[in-house]
Amino acid sequence: MDYYRIAFYAFGAVTVLAALVAVWSRNLIHAGMGLLLSLFGVAGLYALAGADFLAVVQILVYVGGIVILLLFGIMLTQRITGRAPRTGVTNRLVGALAALAVLGVLLAALLRAGFAELPWIAQAGQINEQTLPPAGSTVERLGRLLVGEYLLLFEVAALVLTIALIGAAYMARRSRDEGARPRRMT
């Protein structure tokens, strides 16, 4: 279990520190890279929490997809080449206060709730000590759930994904070829 502790602290530190970089850096490329590293850390935490399939999905979809999409967005929307793409900052005081307030509320709730003593969580710990923990991969169980108990959610998610991607592809067309699309969307 000691290795678990080391890995947990390492992944947690990577996640939070990289998120700090992603949030503080005004250079958009640095922010994107910070986000990438932070998402890697979250994938490690998923793996430690026994969610192996989700860890892989996190790396494939977030790190391989969304971060690359964001970097494409940065590339396509910066006018001046040869200069680092930077973001402006507004409302710094209000934003910091709001974020600190939310953090304070979350931490207070976390300290007071005592989640580890909740009956079903304590019970789950005992069951796992007595009987066998469901060892091995979660892939089979997740697959059965997705085409069984959660089939409707699965289908709705598929539909939403299709619609969103078609819509995105339609909207992202460049308006250079004026004939292809009316200039104003009405």
């Binding site: 678990y4 947690g12 996640t15 939070v16 998120a19 992603a22 949030v23 958009l28 922010a31 932070s38 998402l39 979250v42 935490l45 998923y46 989700l54 999905v57 996190q58 979809v61 969304i66 999409l69 964001l70 494409f72 967005g73 929307t77 006018r79 793409p85 973001t87 402006g88 900052v89 710094r92 934003g95 709001a98 974020a99 939310v102 953090l103 979350l106 931490l107 976390l110 989640f115 580890a116 079903w120 969580i121 789950a124 710990g125 796992n128 469901p134 169980r141 997740l142 759930l145 997705l146 959610l153 939403v160 994904l161 819509g167 995105a168 909207m171 992202a172 460049r174 308006s175 104003r184």
Partner: protein
Amino acid sequence: MTSAAAYLNGYLLIAALLFSLGLFAVLTRRNAIAVLIGVELMLNAANLNLVAFAQFDPYRLGGQVAALLVIVLAVCEAALALAIVLNLYDRLQTVNVDEVESLRL
């Protein structure tokens, strides 16, 4: 798995930090893509909570299924938001969210 409960607060603490950082980015950045980075951080914080609690429900895995759905919706959101940002840049030559003031371009 035995001492998973001991780490639960650690997961929740990391998630709370991620969420606050994401909120800070959303509120203070001017560039739309930096705002999106903040949104992704907040979504990940929520997912981390779901996965952390799903450890204690190892047979039904409701939390992990919910986290999968959140990832799918995050993909939709990122793709659509990027398309909107590209459109904005095409029409207004800016992607600063505080300079975009009209819905109809």
